[in-house]
Structures are given as structure tokens and as C-alpha cells.
Subunit: 179 residues, 2 copies
């Protein structure tokens, strides 16, 4: 799929998935786009656990009570970051930015391959869910599950949510509160 | 350009630019991909100032002493975020993630259109540079310049820096320290 088409078509998907499995080659290809994402000082801080084992999937799917995509996911990609990232520039680390850039690449790849997903982040950070999932996946103590992407073939047609127009968010040469 | 090709070809570019201007239509198209990026709870927190005025460009270019792409930029996109973002999910905001996802979309668009850029972030956060640039651009007090992308036609051929292989950063179903 052409880049600009993938960017336009990508949207958060919280609906049901068909029974079709997500094959390992596609999962590797999706994660490879996460590996190729930029990272501050090329530190490549994000790690990825791909879940496609039915027993493991069932345990994580059972944790979400409302999001149907989470409940019916045929595979998941879980992004792992350090709880206390090492500084790489002055006293700064860019682990959150690194992870987000990797997630965006993967969401575009998921779209281009005809799957659907949604960026699960805040939900992981409450009720100890990130730690519970990290424990299931054997993640070392100093690291945490930061973002989770449930993946499958969408069973419903969903379109992207409306976005504010260009002139409300972008301007040439001077920030404008007027437009 | 095909999505996977754009992801593979994108790389940080710190070299010189040709004299060719970046036309306004391309700049709008690049920023439109930033607008289309996902954001936590669809809050669309990032704002964008596109700099192509030669006098304004010259002021910002003069601030960097080592990065040739910054010194010779023919245009810039500056991402603006709230200094204290509003919570959108429980007590959490996702402004940093929102901005990073927008930046990654724009870097891919820059690549697909034959331009080059580099994600400038940490440099802005020292010596008051983010505030100086925000003041030049008329950014309101509660907001800050978070990421800057210098843009132009690359005058040199640069390839992507080496990345760790898949098996060092990604695994199926269990995090592995061994591979």
C-alpha cells in the first residue's frame, strides 16, 4: 500500500475480528517496521513480545471487559520499555518517543496488510495490568509493558474518527490562535 | 512510495541540503500526515508551525553550531505541545506519544517526497532553545516547541544507521534475555 494511503486509512479499531489467524510472517514483518523506527541517539530502546499462542492470548484477552478488539485479538504485539530508561543525551532519555514511533510504524504496517488494531496504553497503566502482563510474558523486573496492539482481520467496517482541519492545528511561520 | 519502502528508507539526515526550496504544497502534505496520526482519546494535542520564511529560517538555523542539516534547512516543521497537558484518560495525558506518532508520520512523508530530515528533540530542551524558538514563532505561554524537523533536498547520500537484528529485540510469546 502507498504510504499516504496507509496514513489516511489507519484508524483505531475496537470492533470484532474474524476467526482468521494472523500468520507469523506478517507478524514478523509488522514488528520489523517497529525495529526500523527512529530512536533517540539510535538507542533502540523498545523491545517487542509477539503473542500468538492461543493459551497466552486467552489470558490477556480475558483482562479487558469492554474493548471487543482486545477480547477477540488473534495476535498481540506488546512493546516493552525500561521502567527507568538510561539517559542518552545530556540527562534525557527518549524511550517514550522511541516506543511511540515504533508503534506508529507498526499501525501503518497493520493497516497496509489489511489487519486492524488500536493503540492500548492508558488501560495498561491502571490496576497493575502492565505488570500482570509483563509477568505472564517473562519480562525482566526493570522493564514494563508500555503499549499493546491487539491484531486481527476486522469483522466490521469502521472509518477513522473526524480530525480537526489543518487551519485549526497548523500555520506558516507564526503560531495563530485565531484560525 | 510504498509504505514498507518508506519505512526502510527513512533515516536521520544531518548533512547539507541543495538550494532547492521546499514548496508549500509539499509542506502542507507532510503536515497533513502529522494531523492524521493517532492521539490518545483522539485529543489531537500537537500543533504545527511550518517555517519557510527566509528571515525566520535564518534566525533558527543560526542557533545550531554543529548539525549541518539544521544550519542549511530550507524549511522546518516545529511541533508544539502543552507544557502541562490536560489528562484525557484517568489522570494521564499522552501528549508526548501523540507528538511522536505525528513526527514519525511526517518523517515517512518527507522520505516519500524525496526530502530528508532529522528528529531534533533533546537539543531543544537545553540552553532555553525551545523557549527562544517558541517566542520567535509567537507560541502562547502555556505551550512549548517539543520537536523540530529541518527539511530540504539532501545534497549527500546517507544510509540508515545499523539496527540490531530482530532476534535481539523481538520474541514470540516470552521475553527472552538469551537471544
Amino acid at each position: 500500500m502507498e504510504l499516504f494511503e496507509a496514513i489516511e486509512k489507519r484508524h483505531s479499531y475496537r470492533g470484532g475480528f474474524t476467526d482468521e489467524a494472523v500468520n507469523k510472517e506478517d507478524l514478523k514483518r509488522i514488528v520489523s517496521t517497529g525495529l526500523a523506527a527512529p530512536s533517540g541517539c539510535n538507542a533502540q530502546t523498545t523491545r517487542f513480545v509477539i503473542v500468538d499462542d492461543p493459551a497466552m492470548l486467552a489470558k490477556i484477552c480475558a483482562m479487558h471487559t469492554t474493548n471487543i478488539a482486545m477480547q477477540q485479538a488473534k495476535a498481540m504485539i506488546i512493546c516493552i520499555v525500561d521502567k527507568e530508561p538510561q539517559p542518552v543525551y545530556e540527562d534525557k532519555s527518549f524511550a517514550i518517543e522511541d516506543c511511540a514511533a515504533a508503534v506508529e510504524n507498526m499501525l501503518l504496517a497493520i493497516t497496509a496488510l489489511g489487519y486492524a488494531s488500536v493503540w492500548i496504553d492508558g488501560w495498561l497503566r491502571v490496576e497493575g495490568r502492565a505488570d500482570k502482563i509483563a509477568k505472564l510474558l517473562g519480562v525482566p523486573d526493570g522493564k514494563i509493558a508500555r503499549v499493546l496492539l491487539p491484531i486481527g482481520r476486522p469483522a466490521e467496517k469502521v472509518t477513522a474518527r473526524e480530525k480537526m482541519p489543518f487551519e485549526k492545528r497548523a500555520w506558516f511561520n507564526q503560531y495563530s490562535r485565531k484560525s
